[in-house]
Subunit: 236 residues, 4 copies
């Protein structure tokens, strides 16, 4: 593993420019808040946003990214198919991908999962994310649970069975949700992490930040030659 | 699969004899209530209890059992090692096993899981069991969730990662629990189902009964020759 | 489950019309051979082929199909996006899908998996498919392994980790392959089964036929209301 | 994670003392060969053997061990129940465990798995271990497969479905075997790795050594407070 994963934070970056309340919580954008936090922890960090050329995700940027974070919500449809395909190829080739909150409906996540990724939702609830996999590296350093004021996401969550289930959320309104899910697709590791509604300051929460740092380390690629496919000769 | 699975309900059968409140809920014992329900659904049913010779689980009884239900709580230690080993061998050979509620601490479940099977608990809470695997045969015919007044069981639940996770419970006091878990061990299928505290009438609940009927069908053995082990010749 | 699953066999149906050798093996087409076998076992069977309108997979046909078999090879690209999406929605809604041999590269399988589904291959080898999940319903009635003269497919097979691994193949040329894989996506069950190169008579092999019959029964939908998604009120 | 995992290599250490052929291959014992290799790679290494008091696995030794390797074959029964239980508790508490070759029948592995762990076997075959999980940290730096002259182990391997399947072996005599299996039990990681028959010099093979070094790093504990179990108050 590269000693210091190179992180690119992709943010739709619309709410922060159009909604005063969100701008107060994230004056530098969600990518700004996450980026500063990760830089302070020693990661090499870049940001990329929807309205940049190629949405900021050129071959060059992706080619030098070890782990990509993805936050999107109102403009999933504006992400080009070309970019989605470019990201998908990089993930299958080994790049880590951390999908945050409303990113469950992003093209890249739906494409990698193959399902609708649909769920229930409701604003303004209490969320308690329980660690159901004590000893998992993404839960390192946490207590038994994280507690947040958040948007509710409820089951059923239409995703493939995860390779590992790290968090299960309890919500005050009566729902549960599998809120920390690990997948491997191709050589790449994918982590879906539920919190992060734009009107709640969840990315300033130290426990949420710790999970994201742990997830970046977990998702960093394992180096190795690409697999060999196609027509082959017998071995002996 | 045998058209009509032959079910044996194993019940510790102590609370019902020593506690008036429990006796009112289950006048014929927990095995009596579950047995009547399963018989009414067309299953062939027998009961076996702790205080019978060999705990009611002789070679003959086990040899003619397709699916075994297990309810125990205060007297796990009184179950003999011989009986545990006999049940374990039958499960590995194909017999289904449905472990109910406090059976999480039974010798047979701990032996098959290899872990402590420990958890948190508290009396008198509201439980809502959400179906997180819509389309799973054990959830057939259910709505989105079951609701019960029950004992709380909370995470972490120290069991191996299940092969399939069917239910996740929400509790009013703030906890979550993986409350419907599928495992295969050897040729046998195992289902752990959380509800059934002796002071709550959960086994009279129609949704709980439906889950148990579904689970019996799911756990019934798939016939086939036993695997071949040991020293073998090359195939060609 | 419907007592008698309604099966639709989708076949590309090109090799049989253009290649004499294949036509000799499958004079009525691969769909014809599989269809006769399934009908003889009591299933309700229809066929659908690439060159029919809507590739034979109209809303009406899919709406009355419990399990869809898929065989394609040289013309994956000719299957319309509309048809792929229609099939995908039905699978997520509960229809079973059995993907055969070169169908690993079909649009529908790749879309549901999210990965490249790439692999190694070579003609004319000996394949031995070992049952690694004794007791699984798809292996019911089989011996320890199936043996065939077949095209080789070799690892790595770029698919998500299966929910269940039923067969692992040994090839005379030195390769192995995960050749019987179970997935659930949405409410639907998916089984990938490796054998079936058009130049080998594998679908006339009784063991292969048994696996396909078992898989049809396993993949048949579990009835139930569709999941509820979207904005919801608190429960209490 | 501790920067440098502290490794204890447990070896039965009988063949090397009673069989000249084995003594030639491993003059310092299997533990000696593995220990020197791991020390040269910077790990802190100790050895423990069957005939030492407490089989060399006192509370003190286990308490200062991050990852335990286990090689045993002819004397599984001589390992005391007390030692097995002590090791099991440490694994559930977070210590990594790497079980080698005939260790599939060790008390500690069978206890943690809950199954018979039985398999087929035969001496003197060619084994080719294919990487089926490219990108997994245990396969880092390997080519597509490892090749060895070894004892054959064949399916079915009666173990629980692994959390991750890293290697599948091909054998010249016609068998396959799931030969690199990852499990989590409690907080601890377990890796079963097939090669290592005492009459073959497999632990001198650079690829086998690489796998073992990778596995030690993978299995090292993730620090954290132990889970809280038992009777608890509502959270709010």
């Amino acid at each position: 593993m590269a000693d210091t994963p190179r992180v690119t934070i992709w943010n739709e970056y619309r709410h922060e420019k159009s909604d005063e309340k969100v701008a107060e919580i994230y004056p530098e954008g969600i990518h700004g808040a996450l980026g500063a936090m990760l830089e302070n922890s020693g990661f090499k960090v870049r940001a990329a946003t929807l309205d940049e050329p190629e949405h900021g995700l050129s071959e060059e940027v992706l080619g030098s990214t070890d782990v990509l974070l993805w936050w999107g919500h109102v403009a999933h449809d504006e992400v080009s198919e070309e970019t989605v395909e470019r990201v998908r190829e990089r993930v299958l080739g080994g790049m880590g991908l951390i999908v945050l909150h409303s990113g469950h409906f992003s093209k890249i996540f739906k494409t990698l999962m193959g399902t609708t990724c649909d769920l229930k939702w409701r604003l303004n609830d209490t969320e308690r994310l329980w660690v159901v996999a004590p000893g998992h590296p993404i839960a390192e350093g946490l207590g038994e649970y994280l507690e947040l004021e958040e948007e509710m996401f409820g089951e059923p969550f239409d995703v493939p069975r995860p390779d590992e289930l790290v968090f299960v959320s309890w919500f005050g309104g009566g729902e549960v949700f599998r809120s920390g899910l690990c997948y491997r697709r191709g050589r790449g590791r994918i982590f879906y992490f539920r919190p992060g509604h734009e009107e709640n300051p969840s990315y300033h929460n130290p426990d949420v930040q710790l999970v994201i740092r742990n997830a970046v380390r977990w998702a960093a690629p394992t180096p190795g030659a690409p697999p060999v496919y196609g027509n082959t000769e017998p071995i002996e």
